[in-house]
C-alpha cells in the first residue's frame, strides 16, 4: 500500500493492462531469476516474478474467479467439522456444562483453554497489519490480508467459548452494561468483564481495519466481475470506490488511524485475557509476568497459525511469487524471537516461584513440571521452546515444508501452554482435600475440533470470495510503483540513498 507521502497514482484501481506498462503474461516472466535483487533497495524483492501491476491483480483474483477442486475438498472437510461443533453445542445447551470433564477444583477446562488459544491466534493478524504497518515493514503487504482474516475468525472462535462455557448461556448478555429495571451494573472489578470489553473492542477494530483495507480490492473485484450478482455484491461493499486521489487521501488517513487504534489493542487484549488468571489468587495464576508473557505467546502462536495457513495457500493458489520465501523467513524469525521470550518466561516463573519462598507457589510450579500433568508441561516446553530453535538454521527457515511442520508443533505447544496454565493450577491448589484430576470427555474434544471447523469454514469462505492478498498494497511495494524506477536501467544499490520517505 502506498504510504501517504507518495504522490504517484494509486495503483489499486489500475484497470488491467494500464498504458505504459508491459502487457501481462510476457514470456520474460518465466525466466526471471529468483535470486534477482530489487533494483531499488538492493534487497530481495518482495514480489518475485510479477513484472506488472496487472500480473499481481491476475495472480490474486484468478483463483477467486475460477475456483479449483482443492478448495471444495478443504471446504467440505471444514464444513463437516463445523457440523461437529453444531452437535456438540446443541447437546451442551440441552444438558449443561456437565457433559464436559469439568469438576470441582477444575471448574475451567478445555473451553477456557480454547478461548485463550484462539484469542492468542488472533494476535498475529493485528500485529502484521497494524504494528508492522506503523513500522513501515513493507513485507507485511502480501500476508496482512490473510492474517487479518485469520484474526477475525480466530476471535469469532474465541468469543464462542466464554459464551458457551457458562452454566446459563442464555443469560450471556448479563455482563454487558445494559440499563435494566434492577438498576444493576455488572461487576466492573471482574476481569471477566474486562475481557468482555477487551475482546469485543478488539474484534470490532480488527473487523473495521480489515474491511477498510479491503475496499480498494473489493472495487477491483467489482470491476472484474462478470456476473451482475458479483458486481452488485462487491460493488455494495466497495462503497463506490473509484480510486480518486481524494478517495485515496481519506482512505489512507482512515487506515492510519485504525492502525494506530489497533496497535495498543495488540498489547491490551492478551494482557487483559492474562488478567483472568493473574488477578486471581490461585498459585500458578497469580503472577505479574503474565501480561507480557501472554502477549509474546500470543504473537508466537499467531505467527505459527499464519504459517500454517499460508504455506499451503501460497502453493494451492500459486502465490509463491507474492508470498515469497522471504516472507516466510521473516515470520519464522518473529516466531524464533517470541518463542524464546516465551521460553524465558517459563524459566522466570520457576525462578520467581522459588525466590518468592511461597510454599503454595513453589508447589504449583513443581507440580506443573513433575506432577500429574507432567506430560502436558513437557509437551508444552518441547513444542514452544525447542521447536523454534530450529529456525536458527537458514535451510530450515527457508523451507516451507519445514516451517509448516514447525508451525504445527508451535500450535500444539501453545494450546498445551493454556492447558497447563488453566488445568494444572486448578487441579492442585491450597487445600489438598479438594485436589482432583481433570480429564476431557468426548464433548470437550468435539467442541475443540468443531471450533477448528468454524475457523476453517470461515477461512475457506474468505479465500473463495475475497482477495487473499491485499492487491493494492502489494502493488505499492513493487519496484515499478516507485517513481524513480526505470525499467531496464541500472537502479543499483546506490540509488537507495537518494530515496526519501
Amino acid at each position: 500500500m502506498a504510504t501517504a507521502g507518495h504522490t504517484h497514482s494509486p495503483p489499486g484501481t489500475q484497470p488491467h493492462g494500464s498504458p505504459g506498462l508491459e502487457p501481462h503474461g510476457s514470456p520474460a516472466l518465466q525466466t526471471v531469476d529468483r535470486d534477482r535483487l530489487d533494483p531499488l533497495t538492493g534487497r530481495k524483492p518482495l514480489v518475485e516474478e510479477a513484472r506488472t501491476f496487472h500480473d499481481v491483480t491476475e495472480a490474486v483474483a484468478n483463483p477467486i474467479e475460477a475456483p479449483n477442486s482443492r478448495w471444495w475438498i478443504a471446504f467440505m472437510l471444514s464444513l463437516s467439522m463445523l457440523g461437529v461443533l453444531g452437535i456438540a453445542l446443541a447437546y451442551l445447551f440441552y444438558m449443561g456444562t456437565g457433559i464436559w470433564g469439568l469438576n470441582n477444583p477444575v471448574a475451567w477446562g478445555w473451553a477456557i483453554v480454547n478461548f485463550v488459544f484462539w484469542v492468542g491466534i488472533g494476535h498475529a493478524g493485528t500485529l502484521i497489519s497494524a504494528v508492522l504497518f506503523l513500522f513501515r515493514q513493507k513485507w507485511r503487504t502480501s500476508i496482512n490480508r490473510a492474517s487479518e482474516a485469520m484474526t477475525i475468525f480466530a476471535v469469532i472462535c474465541a468469543l464462542l467459548f466464554p459464551t458457551v462455557h457458562t452454566g446459563r448461556p442464555w443469560f450471556i448478555y448479563w455482563p454487558l452494561p445494559i440499563p435494566n429495571q434492577m438498576d444493576m451494573w455488572p461487576n466492573f472489578r471482574s476481569p471477566l468483564l474486562w475481557d468482555v470489553f477487551a475482546v469485543s473492542t478488539y474484534f470490532t477494530v480488527s473487523l473495521l481495519f480489515w474491511y477498510v483495507g479491503l475496499i480498494p480490492d473489493l472495487a477491483t473485484m467489482r470491476d472484474r466481475a462478470k456476473t451482475p450478482m458479483r458486481r452488485f455484491a462487491y460493488g455494495l461493499f466497495a462503497l463506490g470506490w473509484r480510486g480518486s486521489t481524494r478517495h485515496w487521501l481519506h482512505y489512507e488517513k482512515a487506515y492510519m488511524i485504525l492502525a494506530g487504534l489497533a496497535t495498543p489493542l495488540v498489547l491490551s487484549v492478551h494482557t487483559i485475557v492474562s488478567f483472568d488468571f493473574a488477578v486471581s489468587q490461585l498459585p500458578g495464576w497469580h503472577t505479574t509476568i503474565f501480561p507480557p508473557y501472554f502477549v509474546a505467546g500470543a504473537i508466537f502462536s499467531g505467527f505459527a497459525m499464519v504459517l500454517t495457513l499460508l504455506v499451503p495457500l501460497r502453493v494451492w493458489f500459486r502465490l509463491e511469487h507474492l508470498i515469497t520465501i522471504k516472507h516466510l523467513e521473516n515470520m519464522a524469525k518473529i516466531i524464533l524471537l517470541t518463542g524464546t521470550m516465551v521460553g524465558y518466561a517459563y524459566g522466570m516463573e520457576f525462578f520467581i516461584a522459588w525466590y518468592s519462598g511461597n510454599p503454595y507457589e513453589s508447589y504449583a510450579f513443581a507440580n506443573r513440571a513433575f506432577g500429574d500433568y507432567w506430560w502436558a508441561y513437557w509437551i508444552m516446553v518441547s513444542c514452544n521452546v525447542i521447536t523454534p530453535q530450529f529456525i536458527w538454521f537458514k535451510a530450515i527457515r527457508r523451507s516451507p515444508l519445514a516451517l509448516f511442520i514447525l508451525s504445527i508443533f508451535v500450535n500444539i505447544g501453545m494450546w498445551f501452554e493454556r492447558f497447563v496454565i488453566t488445568v494444572t493450577s486448578l487441579h492442585h491448589d491450597f487445600l489438598p482435600s479438594s485436589w482432583g484430576y481433570y480429564s476431557p470427555t468426548v464433548w470437550d474434544v468435539a467442541t475443540l475440533v468443531g471450533s477448528f471447523g468454524l475457523f476453517f469454514t470461515l477461512f475457506c469462505i474468505f479465500v473463495r470470495y475475497l482477495p487473499t492478498i491485499a492487491i493494492a498494497e502489494v502493488k505499492s511495494v513493487m519496484a515499478i510503483a516507485d517513481p524513480h524506477y526505470h525499467p531496464g536501467e541500472d537502479n543499483g544499490p546506490g540509488h537507495e540513498q537518494s530515496r526519501e520517505h
Binding site: 449443561g96 456437565g98 470441582n104 475451567w108 466464554p162 452454566g167 455488572p186 490461585l282 489438598p432 485436589w435
Partner: protein
C-alpha cells in the same frame, strides 16, 4: 374417574365396616403411584382431586408443547385452617428414633404438614439436642419413592401381586388364626431390638396367645454383645451404659463409641466436653483417649494413643491389661473373683503391644490412685466375655456406677438369636416365619444360610421396602415410617419418649406395633390407642390428658414409677467359664475379617437413602460403595492397589470386593462394612457395594480369622471424595508406593498449616502455637483497603449492626459427618449420584477434610470441617462479572442464584474450594425430584437450577427468620444463641459456635478469643469469618 367403580366402592365400605378402631389410611388407588397417595395431609375430596388432576394434565400437555419453562402448580389453600397453623411457619413436634440400642429424642420440623427436618430434643438425655447422620437422613427415608406402598401377596406363579388390607385382614387373618389356634407351634416371630414399653407389653400378649412361638431378634445394629457381657456379670436383664462426663482417661478396646456403637450421640457430647479447653492449664486436665482397634474409626481418629491390633487380639490385650491391673494390691474384685485372674487368657504380646498395655495400665493405676475418673470401653464387635471382663475391670478400679453403670431392664422380653431360627428352619421345627421390620434373608450371617432356608417359609413380612425377605414373603406388607406412627421408646438411661407421628401414613403402611397387636390377638387397634392405653394402664389414677399432652410436648415421659434396681457384679462363675473357654481357643491366624456397621448406612437399613450413600465415609471418604479396607503392608503383600478386586473366601462362602488402602488398618486384617450389595431394594441402592454378611458366621459375627484372600484380577471402581490425605505435598499415605524416599515436588517446605495441632506439652510451651502457623504474621498482613466491623463506620465497610461469624473447635470435632447430612437436609442440596461424585462434583456445602499425619502405616488422622469461610474480602466476589455473589452488610458472602450465569470463576478463585456448581440440572433428576422427595424440601431455601454456583450461606434463612422475629419483638438485634445453623444444631460434639462477632459478649466472640483460634489461609488476606480452634492432643509421654 368421577364415578367410583364397584370394587372401589366395596373397598371403601369394607374399610368403614372394620370395627372402626383401625384408622386405616384411605388409599384410594392401591398400588398405583398416583398423586392421590401424596396428598394425605390435605385429604382432597375425590371429585375435587379428579378435577385438579384433569386440569393439571391438560396444563401439563400445554406446557410440554409450548415453551413454558416453569411447571404450573396449583396451590391448595386450607378451606378450614387447622388451629395453630400459620402458613409458612414451621411447627416442631417431639418424637424419638431408635437404631439398635440407641434412642434419640427428636424434635421434627413440620412445614405445612410435611416433616422436613430432624433436630435433636435438648430435653432428651440420648440426644441432648444433637442427632447423628442416621436420624438426620431418616426424614428422606420417609419420602423414599421405593418404599413398599401397598400389601403384596405371593401368587402361585411365584410373583408378588398387589393386594389390599381387606384381603390381608381376611386371608392372612385366617392363616394367623390357624397358627394361633395351634398356640403358635412352628412359628418364629423375627423382630428387631425392642425398646418400646408398649411394644414389649404387646409382645407379652403375643407370648400369652402364642405360647409355642419363638421370638427371634435380628438386629445387626444392636448392642447384643455388650448386653450379653453385662448379663454375664450382672445377671439376666442387666444393661450397661457408659458415661464419659468428667472422665479423664478412656481406654477403648475396639470401641467406636463416637461412631457406630450404641449411645454414640450422648457419648460424643460427653467426650467433647472432656476435650473442651481454653488454656494450657485446662489442657492438662483434658481427657486422654487410648484406642486399640483393627480399623481406623472415628473414635480411633480421636485417639491420643492408638494401637493397631487384630480384632481377635483385643480380648487378649484386655486380659493382659486385667492381669496387670489386678496385680495391684488394692485392686479388688467382687467376691468370687479370686480365681478369675488365673483363668485369664494368656496372650503373647508384641513389644509394641506390651509397651502400650503397660503404659495404659500405669496410667489407669495412677488415675485410680488420684481418684481421677477413668473408663475402659469395650466395643460392640468384641465377644461377650471381653465386655464382661471390661465391666468387671471398671468395677475393680472404681468406675462402677460412675463411668460404667449397669441397670436391670425388668421389662425385657426373653428372645433368642438368629442361629435358633436357622436351626429351627433346618429341622423343620419352624415352618412359618413372621418378620416385623426385620430382614433376616439379607442381614443374617452368611453361614446360617437363611436366605435359602427362608424360601417359602416367610408367611408375613412387614417392612419399609420389599426387601430381600419381603421378596420371599407370602404376604409383604408396607410398614409405616416412625414419622407416621405412634409408639414409645425407652433410652439406655430409662428416659422414655413418646413417638408421635408427624404425618398420616403416606402409603397404606401400618406400624409394627399395630400389626403385632393384630397378630397377637386379632384386635385391630390403632397405634395411638395402643400407646396411650398402655400408659393409661401404667399410670393408673395418675394419668390425665394434661400429663399426656405434656409428655407429647416435651418428648420425655416424666413421673412414671419404676423399680430402680441396679445390678452389681455378683456371680462371676459365668465369666470365669467364658474366660477359660476363650483362653483355650486357638488364636486366629491368617487374614482376619473384621465386619463393621457402616458409619453411613448402618446395617443396610439406609441403603436406599441418597443422602447417606453420597455422604463420604468419615475417614476413607468413600461414597456409594463399601470396600475391603486393608493396610499398606497387606496391600503390598496381596499386590493390589485401590479398586483392585479381592476374592475373599471363608468356609466355602466367597465375595469379590474392591480393595481400599486404609492407613491405620492393622496388618493382615480386612475390614468389611456391612449393609451394601442390596438386592432389588430400590433405585438408590442399586449396584451399591458388596454384601459382606455372606462371610459372617453366626457364632461370632464380627470377627473371623482364617480367611483366604487373593487378588481377583479385575477392578471395580469405587470413589472417594478426597484423594489426597496429606498436608505435605508429594506424600500420599494411602499409596503402597514408597514415596517417603527420594525427591518429591514441593518438598522442602513446611507442611501446609491448614490444620494445626499440638500436644498438651507443646501447648504449654507455646500457648499461641496456632498463630505460629500463619505464613505471614497478622501484623505484617497489609491490605489496600480499610475494613471494619464497627457498626458506626460507613461504607464500604461492613455496616450491619450484627456481624455473623463462626468458630469450629477442632478439639471437639470428631469428623462424624452428621453436619454434612444436616446441611443437605436443611438446604435442599441435591444428591448427584456415583458417576458425578466420581468426577468430583458432589454438592455438599460442608465437607469434612481428613488428613493423615505421622508414620505412613499408622498415622494419626485429623479432621477439619470445611465450609464457606465468609471471607470479609472474599476472592470470589470481585471476580464475578455479574455481581451474583456479593457481601451483605452483616458480613455474609451472599449468593444470588438467579443472578448467576455460571462462569465458575468464583469457584476457581476460592482458596478453600467450597463453591459447588450445578453441572447438570441435579434438582430435576428423578432422585431429587420425584413426587415424594419433593415434599422434604425446605420451603425457605431456593432449589437451585442447572448452571449456577451454590455454597454455604451460614443458613441465611435461619438468620433472616431470627431477624424477623427480633424485629417483631421490637428489638434491633438478634439475641445471642437464637440463630443456630443446621450444622451447629446437629453437632453431637457441640464443636460449632455461631453468632455475632461484632459484639464481644457473644459466645462466638468469646470462643474466638481463645489462644487456639486461627484462620485458614489468612496469609491471602481473605479475613475469613469462619475460624478454627487448633487441636491439642494429649498423648501419653511414655508412648511418644
Amino acid at each position: 374417574m368421577t364415578k367410583p367403580t364397584e370394587s372401589l366402592k366395596t373397598y371403601w365400605r369394607s374399610l368403614a365396616d372394620l370395627d372402626g378402631t383401625m384408622a386405616a389410611p384411605a388409599d384410594e388407588f392401591p398400588g398405583a403411584e398416583t398423586t392421590a397417595t401424596l396428598l394425605p395431609a390435605t385429604k382432597l375430596a375425590r371429585r375435587k382431586f379428579a378435577g385438579l388432576l384433569g386440569a393439571s394434565t391438560a396444563l401439563a400437555g400445554l406446557t410440554t408443547t409450548g415453551c413454558v419453562r416453569k411447571p404450573v402448580e396449583n396451590i391448595l389453600p386450607f378451606a378450614k385452617r387447622p388451629e395453630d397453623m400459620i402458613p409458612g411457619q414451621a411447627i416442631y413436634y417431639a418424637t424419638a428414633y431408635q437404631v439398635g440400642h440407641s434412642v434419640l429424642g427428636l424434635l421434627v420440623e413440620s412445614q405445612d404438614g410435611r416433616p422436613t427436618k430432624i433436630e435433636g430434643n435438648p430435653r432428651h438425655s440420648g440426644s441432648n439436642g444433637a442427632t447423628d447422620m442416621w436420624a438426620q437422613a431418616s426424614v428422606l427415608g420417609l419420602y423414599d419413592p421405593d418404599r413398599c406402598r401397598v400389601p403384596h401377596h405371593l401368587g402361585a406363579d411365584g410373583k408378588h401381586a398387589v393386594s389390599d388390607w381387606d384381603t390381608v385382614t381376611e386371608e392372612l387373618g385366617a392363616s394367623l388364626k390357624q397358627l394361633r389356634d395351634a398356640q403358635g407351634a412352628g412359628v418364629a416371630l423375627v423382630i428387631p431390638t425392642v425398646l418400646s414399653p408398649t411394644y414389649r407389653d404387646t409382645l407379652r400378649t403375643f407370648k400369652e396367645k402364642w405360647p409355642k412361638a419363638r421370638i427371634i431378634v435380628d438386629d445387626a445394629a444392636a448392642a447384643n454383645n455388650a448386653v450379653a457381657g453385662a448379663e454375664l456379670i450382672g445377671g439376666a436383664g442387666a444393661r450397661p451404659t457408659y458415661h464419659l462426663a468428667g472422665v479423664k482417661l478412656i481406654a477403648s478396646f475396639d470401641g467406636d463409641f463416637l461412631g457406630t456403637d450404641f449411645d454414640h450421640v450422648r457419648l460424643q457430647r460427653e467426650y467433647a466436653e472432656g476435650r473442651s479447653i481454653t488454656s494450657p492449664t485446662d489442657a492438662a486436665e483434658m481427657s486422654r483417649l487410648y484406642v486399640l482397634e483393627p480399623h481406623l474409626t472415628v473414635t480411633g481418629a480421636q485417639a491420643d494413643n492408638r494401637l493397631r491390633v487384630r480384632g481377635g487380639d483385643v480380648g487378649g490385650l484386655l486380659a493382659a491389661l486385667a492381669d496387670r491391673l489386678l496385680g495391684e494390691k488394692d485392686v479388688r474384685l467382687p467376691p468370687g473373683g479370686e480365681t478369675l485372674r488365673g483363668s485369664l487368657p494368656r496372650a503373647t504380646l508384641t513389644p509394641e503391644q506390651d509397651k502400650f498395655i503397660s503404659a495404659l495400665a500405669s496410667d489407669l493405676n495412677a488415675a485410680r490412685k488420684a481418684r481421677r475418673p477413668s473408663v475402659i470401653v469395650v466395643g460392640e464387635r468384641q465377644p461377650a466375655w471381653v465386655h464382661g471382663l471390661g465391666f468387671l475391670l471398671n468395677y475393680a478400679i472404681g468406675n462402677g456406677a460412675n463411668s460404667v453403670r449397669l441397670r436391670l431392664d425388668d421389662l425385657a422380653v426373653a428372645t433368642e438369636g438368629l442361629p435358633v431360627l436357622a436351626a429351627g428352619l433346618r429341622d423343620n421345627s419352624i415352618t412359618d416365619v413372621i418378620c416385623l421390620e426385620t430382614n433376616p434373608a439379607y442381614d443374617a450371617p452368611g453361614d446360617l444360610g437363611l436366605a435359602e432356608a427362608l424360601k417359602g417359609k416367610v408367611l408375613l413380612h412387614l417392612g419399609q421396602h420389599v426387601d430381600e425377605t419381603g421378596q420371599l414373603a407370602t404376604w409383604c406388607l408396607p410398614a409405616a415410617h416412625y414419622l407416621e406412627s405412634w409408639g414409645d421408646l425407652e433410652a439406655a438411661d430409662t428416659t422414655v419418649s413418646i413417638v408421635q407421628p408427624l404425618i398420616a401414613p403416606l402409603h397404606s403402611g401400618r406400624s409394627a406395633l399395630e400389626l403385632l397387636a393384630w397378630i397377637a390377638s386379632d384386635a385391630q387397634i390403632d397405634g395411638y390407642s395402643l400407646v396411650q392405653g398402655y400408659w393409661r394402664t401404667v399410670l393408673g389414677p395418675m394419668y390425665s390428658d394434661r400429663v399426656w399432652r405434656r409428655w407429647l410436648h416435651d418428648g420425655v415421659v416424666q413421673g412414671i414409677p419404676r423399680a430402680g434396681t441396679t445390678p452389681t457384679p455378683r456371680d462371676l462363675g459365668g465369666l470365669t467359664t467364658a474366660l477359660t473357654a476363650a483362653g483355650s481357643e486357638a488364636a486366629g491366624s491368617g487374614y482376619e475379617l473384621d465386619f463393621h456397621l457402616d458409619p453411613k448406612i448402618v446395617d443396610g437399613r439406609h441403603a436406599n437413602n441418597g443422602w447417606l450413600q453420597e455422604n463420604p465415609h468419615p475417614l476413607t471418604k468413600l461414597t456409594w460403595d463399601n470396600a475391603a479396607y486393608v493396610s499398606i503392608e497387606t496391600a503390598r503383600k496381596l499386590a493390589v492397589e485401590n479398586c483392585d478386586n479381592l476374592r475373599i473366601s471363608l468356609g466355602g462362602r466367597e465375595i469379590i470386593i474392591p480393595v481400599w488402602i486404609a492407613p491405620g488398618q492393622a496388618d493382615d486384617t480386612i475390614s468389611l462394612p456391612l449393609g451394601y450389595g442390596r438386592r432389588n431394594l430400590g433405585a438408590v441402592s442399586r449396584d451399591s457395594g458388596v454384601d459382606a454378611y455372606v462371610l459372617q458366621s453366626g457364632t461370632n459375627p464380627w470377627i473371623a480369622a482364617g480367611a483366604e484372600v487373593a487378588r481377583q484380577g479385575t477392578q471395580r471402581m469405587v470413589y472417594s471424595t478426597q484423594n489426597h490425605g496429606s498436608l505435605d505435598p508429594g506424600v500420599d499415605p494411602a499409596s503402597t508406593k514408597d514415596d517417603s524416599q527420594g525427591w518429591n515436588p514441593g518438598r522442602g517446605y513446611p507442611e501446609r498449616p491448614i490444620v494445626r495441632q499440638t500436644t498438651v506439652e507443646g501447648f504449654k510451651k507455646e500457648p499461641n502455637f496456632s498463630q505460629k502457623g500463619d505464613l505471614i504474621a497478622k501484623e505484617n498482613l497489609r491490605s489496600l483497603w480499610d475494613h471494619n466491623t464497627h457498626p458506626d463506620l460507613g461504607p464500604p465497610a461492613l455496616i450491619g449492626l450484627q456481624q455473623w461469624g463462626m468458630a469450629i473447635d477442632l478439639n471437639k470435632c470428631t469428623g462424624c459427618t452428621a453436619c454434612t447430612v444436616a446441611c443437605q437436609a436443611e438446604n435442599n442440596i441435591p444428591v448427584v449420584g456415583r458417576s458425578q461424585v466420581a468426577n468430583g462434583r458432589e454438592m455438599h456445602w460442608i465437607r469434612i477434610d481428613r488428613y493423615y499425619t505421622g508414620p505412613k502405616e499408622a498415622p494419626e488422622a485429623v479432621v477439619q470441617p470445611m465450609l464457606c469461610q465468609h471471607c470479609e474480602t472474599a476472592p470470589c466476589e470481585n471476580v464475578c462479572p455479574v455481581n451474583a455473589t456479593a457481601h451483605s452488610p452483616e458480613g455474609l458472602n451472599d449468593m444470588a442464584y438467579n443472578r448467576c450465569i455460571g462462569t465458575r470463576y468464583c469457584a476457581n478463585n476460592c482458596p478453600y474450594k467450597v463453591r459447588r456448581f450445578n453441572f447438570f440440572n441435579y434438582n430435576k433428576d428423578p432422585v431429587n425430584d420425584n413426587e415424594m422427595t419433593r415434599m422434604q424440601k425446605n420451603p425457605d431455601v431456593t432449589v437451585r437450577f442447572r448452571g449456577v454456583i451454590e455454597k454455604c450461606s451460614y443458613c441465611v434463612q435461619r438468620i433472616q427468620e431470627a431477624k424477623i422475629q427480633a424485629h417483631t419483638a421490637g428489638e434491633d438485634r438478634v439475641k445471642d444463641g437464637v440463630i443456630v445453623t443446621a450444622c451447629q444444631q446437629v453437632c453431637p460434639s457441640a464443636a460449632i459456635t455461631f453468632g455475632d462477632v461484632a459484639d464481644p459478649n457473644t459466645k462466638v466472640s468469646q470462643v474466638k478469643q481463645d489462644g487456639r483460634n486461627y484462620g485458614v489461609l489468612t496469609d491471602l488476606n481473605t479475613r475469613p469469618r469462619t475460624t478454627y480452634l487448633a487441636r491439642v492432643r494429649n498423648p501419653n509421654p511414655e508412648l511418644v
